[in-house]
């Protein structure tokens, strides 16, 4: 190829890549602007801190916000320690054989299982077999199961990115394997682990299918006061308001307001992830 045609190819290639980026950005912006445009008017402290009234045509989303928060906390408490521990075992202790290869592949596949399947599994295991009933805890654990593969994979990747020489350095100084993991490897990997964990959990916070059969309910006048009670959740509330309500046109602003709150919640979670990352990155060198 001549230099000129090479330059032309490279020019077109670059433009094409740029175009793809712009298209992606445009869609994201479009969705965001649409939701902010139509939801911002609804947003107020009243909307956030009052219960739905008059057949959900008025009032706010307080019970749904509390419900989603409680479920997300349960999800995090269950899935983060279990997921990180599993990843540490797989990456640091388990020998690399056929069994662990199959195990890893299965974990990756689990990340691709449709969330409705997790919902059904949650009914069978938590609601029925373990008799936890339709409750915050059943839904939290179901979402936790769904989040586990993400956390395990993200943690394993973070652990793998810690150079082998750091492990050897710690061991050569007389550290035991566990000491090396605790004092050198996990702190080095914490940024990646935190990001993976919070992204996984925030994805769970927006899920509807897994909580559908395990505890979420259509309408409550109060936020859940115990872990074994049914609850309202933002994504399900949004679904009801946008498709199942008897006066869809009338509640449309409420639906957009709910969507905006849900997005803000996830943005807040991601900002927390960002702050934790930076904090650890700084602490690491102290």
């Amino acid at each position: 190829m001549s230099v000129i045609s090479k330059n032309i190819t490279s020019f077109i290639g670059l433009r094409f890549l740029g175009l793809c980026t712009i298209v992606v950005l445009a869609f994201i912006l479009l969705v965001l602007i649409d939701i902010i445009w139509k939801g911002a008017g609804t947003l107020s402290w009243d909307f956030i801190f009052t219960v739905p009234r008059k057949g959900m045509t008025e009032g706010g989303i307080y019970p749904a916000l509390v419900g989603t928060t409680m479920v997300t906390v349960i999800t995090a408490i269950f899935s983060i320690p279990v997921g990180v521990a599993t990843a540490v075992y797989l990456n640091e202790y388990a020998s690399d054989n056929m069994f662990t290869k199959i195990l890893r592949a299965s974990i990756r596949n689990l990340a691709g299982v449709p969330s409705i399947i997790y919902g059904l599994f949650g009914v069978a295991l938590f609601v029925e077999a373990l008799r936890l009933g339709n409750s915050v805890v059943s839904s939290g654990l179901t979402l936790g199961l769904m989040t586990l593969p993400y956390i395990i994979t993200a943690t394993e990747e973070a652990l793998r990115s810690v150079p082998h020489s750091h492990r050897e350095g710690a061991l050569a100084l007389g550290a035991t394997k566990w000491e090396a993991i605790k004092t050198i490897i996990l702190p080095s990997a914490i940024a990646g682990i935190t990001t993976g964990a919070i992204l996984g959990v925030s994805r769970a916070a927006g899920e509807t299918a897994p909580i559908l059969f395990t505890g979420v309910t259509f309408y409550l006048r109060f936020p859940p006061d115990t872990l074994d009670s049914e609850f309202m959740a933002l994504p399900y509330h949004l679904y009801i308001l946008s498709t199942q309500h008897h006066a869809i046109e009338q509640v449309r602003p409420l639906a957009y307001g709910t969507a905006l709150v849900l997005i803000l919640l996830i943005v807040v979670l991601n900002i927390i992830a960002f702050i934790i990352r930076n904090k650890y990155a700084k602490e690491l060198v102290k």
Partner: protein
């Protein structure tokens, strides 16, 4: 002279691949011993068996024995962490932890619970002084170790190793990633540390062996071909193979 380490007929294989085919050698106390030989001759493998770094690899099979002050370190049920406290190691590439300079050195003290017995601040300072880093760095020990130059990082790794007061220091091609000036500083350091430690250094650089080592062992294909004083090995080798290698006519 008193032997610090005795290596007795060490045979080592990775799976089916035999890497060491029966190596026997004595390392005198407070001496510098260089191991030279072409890549893949097993010198690093031999070095890493002295602080039991092969424990990590389940495929490694090892027979024979290594004695430290007359005590077996391979065959006994002895805790490898105890051996590694006595036998420090410096690696081919500088591998400071992503921590501050201070904490890189304090780490070994904490891990070995020496921080209750000694003044950590004082220990950090004297380790840095021993490695000519104290004056260079001044009081700026809160900086990340990763911001230092490669040569400083490697000296920090040496400081980290000597801070826990080992008896032996293993160095696996410690200068191969460094520039000539940093290399000269490390060599100077090796000569100075000899007073307090027994040092075994693996090197590809024959000049380095001549400059630093009291004794030199030439290894080839998993065997120790010849071992003697550095002067004898380089000026008057007994084996034809050694002669060809030190004269650079290998092949």
């Amino acid at each position: 002279m008193e032997n610090k380490i005795e290596i007795k007929d060490i045979k080592l294989s990775f799976g089916t691949k035999e890497v060491l085919k029966g190596v026997t050698m004595q390392i005198p106390k407070n001496s510098v011993v260089a191991l030279i030989g072409p890549s893949g001759c097993g010198k690093s493998t031999l070095l890493r068996s002295i602080n039991r770094m092969h424990d990590l690899n389940p495929d490694v099979k090892i027979t024979g024995d290594i004695l430290l002050d007359g005590e077996s370190i391979l065959q006994s049920k002895k805790d490898p962490t105890e051996i590694r406290r006595k036998v420090g190691m410096v690696f081919q590439r500088p591998n400071p932890f992503p921590k501050s300079i201070y904490n890189n050195i304090a780490y070994g003290l904490k891990i070995n619970e020496l921080d209750k017995k000694v003044d950590v601040k004082q220990a950090v300072q004297s380790a840095l002084e021993d490695c000519y880093l104290w004056d260079e760095l001044g009081d700026n020990l809160k900086r990340s170790a990763l911001e230092m130059s490669g040569g400083q990082q490697q000296r920090l790794c040496i400081a980290r190793a000597i801070a826990i007061n080992p008896e032996v220091i293993l160095m696996d091609e410690p200068c191969s990633a460094l520039d000539p000036i940093s290399t000269a500083k490390i060599e100077e350091l090796i000569l100075r540390l000899k007073k307090d430690y027994t040092i075994i250094i693996v090197t590809h650089n024959m000049q380095q062996a001549i400059r630093t080592a009291d004794y030199t062992g030439f290894m080839y294909l998993g065997e120790l071909v010849e071992y003697g004083t550095t002067q004898q090995i380089f000026e008057n080798p007994k084996e034809e193979l050694t002669k060809r290698y030190v004269e650079g006519n290998f092949g």
